[in-house]
Symmetry: C2
Subunit: 494 residues, 2 copies
């Protein structure tokens, strides 16, 4: 790939003049980006001294500073290392209608990491997959990602380092690491080339720019920016191909809700008290263990309205050290959340190592309420199964235990609970008009839930359907599933 | 203060039973907190082994886990140290209708820091003031802050440490530092006592709890929680006394807008080009210097609609390294921002050392648009002058240079620019119906701006009124003010 950089400029052109025209175009495109609510990511990777800094400065000279943000990617801090690799990149995706310029990016986790940190081939391959998934998911959501690799030869780099070192005000910029990298140029070249080849996807292709000539570099970069953004603004993206999850992920078959028997799934209060005490004690012990072993855990609670999610979460959390878990209720997204990829707000809430996040409702809203109420297009909803599986797969690969519960009650039981809530003053706040409206759509929801469970019950993050007509039975079943799963995982870690 | 802890419990009471009743009350109060949208902060400080952890566990046992968050205060990270001291505490204030439980808090920056870090008496006094201001501002905004100090004697502490050390599963919890602190008990006692005395304010009084007896401790703590929250829920807070800013802050007198002459404040384009080039070069150099000297800078741009804020910000930012500044446009607050103290979203955007944040509109919206449009009560708006002065004073005391600009044009010039925007297709997006509506309220705004400038032009963060009928003149004037101020500050730092 790297050899594809264009070096033979046309000597009869005045590239400086041509670039001026492009700069004006770029400036005018800003407003269109805003109008179309297009989120744009421009990322720059490349050799040391290839001129990223000055190129970024030139790039944004024509832009309204209130409309873009420049991010410099630094090595991950100790705290950042306690989260899944891609979390810190997810956090910084721009809002729709604005632009992020990345001075280095997630690509630092690939070639440079492979060369300088102790990561295995399989870890490297894994990271390549994370990056490709990340970019595809953003691209499918309308993000425009323009990737530049700034290329220079070993000789040119050496020359630039020497020049920087000559000047007392710039010599600090050349480090020992830079010299080492220059000496080792061929090995880095090979690794960069490998990385670029493996991440050169149709939706996010690389642009390799030879930066030996400053004017020609600028012309090429601005030309690409203007043409790519113009395209994105004017041309409706072709609908992405929706791949069936089942072809990509190993699924753990689950029954349809209609086939889940709720009969006899009850528990006597005295037995419940015993079981609860036992489970609580066990869970408290496990919480200490996962803290010490630095095992992160995500629990997802979904279910019919009034199925008892809150009560179950409460019983679990009583057993936990409050400093080691967080319960996150998911409501309708706020404006700044709607303005980004829908997974953004969930990435932001992931637990660090040794901690637990309990989601009360979750990203599955995408294929339930958002789908049924028509908040999101059918097409985007259909893509969510794969996106969600990829998301959860990434979490499990990064070491997070993902536990998902669907609390299942039947229609009669729901009516009984709704009425009870209506008739008990302290509970009335729990029941809203929306609950009654949702109830009318029971059949549509049931169909959606069946599809969701069928398509997202992966082997690594399977759904647990909990018979919840009896709250006592349900709570104990949930706690025991959690206990078994954590024990199993801890055993594996030994 | 510490000697005020109650130790003589009434032996005829069954405190365990009494506490059970209180627990139920506390559980019921949650819903009221939610209904009344009350933000509640419960913080626990105290001696090592005084039982904070288990008390917190008992406290939240009765609460819905989706409704509170527990924060453990750790020593500031290196990154956190690059921001004003109170920023990381501001970031974590709860949303209205929810509850934050703090396991240690900003008080770690006082007594413990005074004992164990190298902070001077004046720095300590300064921090006491920060804390009192922080709590008063939150309290004035309706936050309920309940502060517990868990107290034990030197002997009791020693006993507890020994007991912890006996058990192999708990012995790691007793550190060398703990032992040192126990040995040095009297000195710590004195310092804690001093801290508590100085931060025992009418709006946020301390509750000192002797925790020698577990049941009695719980009874006292739950009793206080229930009574304080019940009060907060049921009793309308008396309106806080609004203190005139002028009595507290040194003000730098500025003219009324009507007395600012806009005549002859123009600049020839050729002169402008020269001046701009000069200023840009100087500013670029200064940006490098402030980066090296780790000087943080905040710039605030306010002004009439179409006064040229955007254009001025653009000219400044061209001179800056994009990796070292951020331009933050301030629009109407989002829901999650409205749900917190209004200064919260600005605290979140402060620059770290060596960086610049440029605010395009700012916290001054409080005393302009929020006041004139009636979004905020007259009373809360009136309190903002002092709050804002305190906020900016804290920034300047923490080493941030605060530069504030009011871009002033007259009514005719605004009309001319509005019409020009209407008639230029590329500029039409800049003009909205709201701009025309605001224009109709010119007189009300002028009065508000005059009052704002009079009351918030402090000596350390004075307003700069910029005659902006000529954009060229205004931009150069602004850049030169910035250059002079930064040079002055850098000189002081030498």
């Amino acid at each position: 790939m790297l050899e594809n950089a264009i070096t033979n400029k046309n000597k009869s052109f005045d590239y400086k003049e041509l670039t001026k025209e492009l700069e004006k175009n770029l400036s005018a495109l800003q407003q269109k980006i805003r109008d179309k609510k297009l989120p744009v990511i421009i990322l720059l990777e490349g050799w040391g001294a290839s001129g990223k800094g000055s190129l970024i400065a030139d790039m944004i000279k024509m832009l309204d500073p209130r409309f873009f943000k420049v991010y410099s990617t630094m090595p991950a801090t100790e705290t950042e290392r306690r989260y899944p690799l891609m979390k810190r990149y997810w956090e910084k995706i721009p809002e729709r209608g604005s632009l992020a310029v990345l001075d280095r990016s997630w690509y630092q986790e690939l070639a440079i990491a492979k060369m300088e940190e102790d990561i295995s081939d399989s870890e490297y391959a894994q990271r390549v997959e994370y990056v490709n998934t990340f970019e595809r998911q953003l691209s499918d959501d309308g993000y425009v990602i323009i990737k530049f690799f700034l290329h220079i030869s070993q000789k040119e780099q050496k020359k630039r380092f020497l020049k920087l070192k000559e000047d007392s005000t710039t010599k600090w910029r050349v480090t020992e690491l830079d010299k080492k990298r220059n000496k080792n140029y061929d090995a880095y070249y090979k690794q960069f080339d490998d990385m670029i080849t493996k991440t050169n996807t149709p939706h996010c292709p690389w642009k390799i720019i030879d930066t030996t000539d400053r004017a020609f570099t600028r012309f090429q970069v601005f030309n690409i920016l203007v043409s790519q953004i113009t395209n994105a603004v004017n041309i409706e993206k072709p609908a992405p191909v929706i791949e069936e999850s089942a072809h990509i992920f190993k699924l753990a078959a689950k029954p349809k809700l209609a086939d889940v028997s709720l009969e006899n799934k009850t528990m006597q209060p005295t037995k419940y008290d015993d079981e609860l005490k036992k489970a609580r004690k066990e869970l408290a012990k496990l919480h200490g263990k996962i803290y010490k072993k630095k095992l992160p855990v995500v629990m997802v609670f979904e279910g019919w309205d009034a199925a008892g999610k809150g009560g179950a979460i409460k019983r679990i959390s009583y057993a936990l050290d409050p400093r080691g878990y967080e319960a996150v209720p998911i409501a309708a997204p706020d404006k700044h959340e709607l303005n980004r990829h829908y997974l953004w707000r969930f990435w932001n809430k992931l637990p660090k190592t040794g901690h637990i996040t309990i989601f009360d409702r979750s990203w599955y809203g995408r294929v339930m309420v958002e789908r049924i109420e028509g908040f999101t297009s059918e097409e985007r909803c259909a893509m969510a199964y794969r996106e969600i599986n990829e998301f959860e797969q990434e979490l499990t690969k990064e070491g997070i235990v993902v536990l998902k519960f669907w609390l299942h009650i039947d229609k009669d039981e729901q009516l009984k609970r709704f009425n009870e809530r209506m008739n008990t003053p302290e509970k009335r706040w729990k029941i809203t008009d929306e609950d009654w409206r949702n109830r009318e759509k029971w059949d549509a929801y049931e169909k959606a839930v069946d599809e969701m469970i069928a398509k997202t019950s992966t082997v690594d993050a399977p759904w647990n359907i909990i018979e919840a007509n009896s709250k006592l039975y349900a709570r104990i079943k949930i706690m025991n599933i959690i206990i078994d799963r954590l024990n199993e995982q801890l055993k594996k870690m030994k």
